[in-house]
Subunit: 343 residues, 2 copies
DNA sequence: AACGTCGCCGAAAAGGTTTTCTGAATGTAG
DNA sequence: CTACATTCAGAAAACCTTTTCGGCGACGTT
């Protein structure tokens, strides 16, 4: 074809070529390159040089076929769009890439049919393990027990307790948030959150209430469930401050909602944090570090969660029992100016 | 092991098993399942039933080894974190997934060493093609001409004109933005943008200037280059309005900057859009649809770009010449309340 | 009855690598 | 010089699927 152009067509170099150049058999070449003994040092050097000269890289298809394991894992997401999937994916890719494992990415886009289709494809590729990442913390249907490879669920837990699921600890996050507000001297705390159908919203509210109860306190008013949006944050905060002007802290179910709360507080000339403290969840840096004042938030450590999930898959590959059920990973408080005045 | 538990250990079913159950040879079984002729209908049915009963799925490693093509492509990103990579990735995954192709995801995290490492790994896996996605529109070093498989660069173009690169048309986007502001009756347009070192910032400014020149107009003041942040948008807008109170439109280099501009305008009691029009780039919905008023923006159609890039890789796999050089894909104007008062 | 044709199935090879086993050569001890 | 251990290289099988080619039986034709 094009001898100097992009040579898509030149046959790729195989172990046979290396062996021929080094003047040995393929068996010896293989052993030399894989560091097995029974090869004289001089021979090994010759083979290695030949491999380097031809820039040989072993065909992992053939290796996988023989070994019975491909050295790949499937990453099955229900929704790439979601803001929460990406950090998990990064953490997982990072953990896998450190080994010799490569990752197949599949996006089912919330469609069960497509999910089963991708599952079949991945199993056909003989992935050694599966990581299933959902977009909500609400349980999702299990892939089943007879997949043939270890499966770990991240963010969205499986509804089968025999599966292992890694989820963020939203109840703990709610407690942590209230803990911080209490430490800031706040006592009249209201909670504006997202949609009630999300267990993340309910869990955070529960954690918040529990921690308050521990001090003999209650939330000011009912939890205001609405949308996960800045707009709802603005509107809800306006209603809240009209009805309960005495609140000294607004715990928001997400950073977006908190941004809305900050806007409304500013509109109403309530100073943050002196007059009212505001905080959010998720620690979405684009939102938190550009807010006025910068926004205190609870980081769910999602990248860590992805990393841990990948390590669990790894462990399962090694034959180690990784347990089952839901394991909740703690969040982390990130303090900024919206709860603590900077000096 | 655990006969009823998660059976990771049970040998996976192979074509031989199917053939034995159906009482035919593996050759016949293969032909039956792959829809080739030379198989009696009744035999084919028997094989299909056997395959279904054993839930057989052919080993794509073996198939790939034989066919010389693996049916996979590598997606090499320089940075998963970036906001621009994800939509491209979605578009690409979508396009590939529609075929029989699966995608290996690799994140080099902006590190050249890691990139070469991943490249080797992907070539060892015998990917049929590569899609390289960068995080900036500035040129990046080519992977080289002798990869052995077709490569398409998306978002960040290759510095080798012999490679094919798909990039957003930022100059056109700048023109498009000014076009819209002119259509809204604005004549005194200022431009607040991000970091000068980004070609995206320079290109958009260039496009804006070109379109203004076409009307015999110029930007009000110099382009204000700064950070891609809300904070900079606020500060720059404050300076701008102090120095040039007569501006009737602020074109912002990103939606984040535009959000900052909106904030400052509100602080200074300048009404948007009646007094000043504001618009951004990128159409980041979280920011645009929650702004007050909602933010007009230019969408770079990144998902489309990823889709197109994937199709180019596909075409190259089919042996079709996909050309070379930079191909710029047009953006799309999304009109919202920050430039046009809603009736 | 002999022959050609057609439809269907199976044997075998190929793809690239790893591993096991055999065998050759060299060195060492008796 | 023989017996034996040791070191290193190669032959061959295995992994699973697809494809090619040969063969076999049935059928139709002369």
């Amino acid at each position: 074809m094009q001898p100097t152009g992009h040579g898509h067509m030149n046959r790729v170099v195989t172990l046979t070529d290396v062996a021929r150049l080094a003047g040995v058999s393929v068996a010896t070449a293989s052993k030399a390159l894989n560091g097995r003994d029974q090869v004289k040092d001089s021979t090994r050097a010759r083979v290695q040089e030949a491999a380097a000269r031809l820039s040989f890289s072993p065909n992992r298809l053939a290796r996988g076929l023989l070994a019975g394991r491909s050295g790949t894992v499937g990453l099955l997401t229900s929704d790439l769009e979601g803001r929460f999937v990406l950090p998990i994916l990064m953490g997982a890719e990072d953990a896998f890439g450190a080994g010799q494992v490569n990752v197949f990415l599949c996006d089912a886009r919330g469609d069960t049919i497509r999910e089963r289709y991708h599952l079949r494809a991945l199993l056909g590729r003989r992935v050694d393990g599966l990581l299933v990442v959902g977009r909500q913390t609400d349980p999702r249907p299990s892939l089943g027990r007879d997949i043939g490879v270890p499966v770990v669920y991240a963010y969205a837990p499986s509804d089968d307790p025999a599966d292992l699921s890694l989820v963020p600890d939203n109840i703990g996050a709610g407690r942590l948030a209230v803990e911080h507000l209490l430490a800031c001297g706040r006592r009249r705390i209201a909670h504006v959150s997202g949609e009630l159908v999300y267990s993340a919203a309910r869990d955070r509210a529960q954690g918040a209430r529990e921690r308050l109860a521990q001090e003999g306190l209650e939330l000011v008013g009912d939890v205001m469930y609405g949308e996960w949006s800045e707009r709802w944050g603005r509107d809800a905060t306006a209603m809240l401050l009209a009805q309960h002007p005495e609140v000294d802290a607004i715990l928001c179910g997400s950073d977006q909602i908190a941004r809305g709360a900050l806007d409304t507080a500013r509109d109403l000339h309530r100073t943050v944090p002196d007059d009212i403290a505001v905080m959010g969840f998720d620690n979405w840096e684009v939102l938190t570090t550009n807010a006025r004042p910068e926004l205190t938030s609870i980081d769910a450590n999602l990248q860590q969660l992805g990393h841990t999930a990948a390590q669990r898959v790894f462990a399962a590959l090694e034959g180690i029992d990784i347990g089952s059920g839901e394991q909740a990973l703690p969040g982390r408080l990130v303090i900024r100016g919206s709860t603590v005045a900077r000096q």
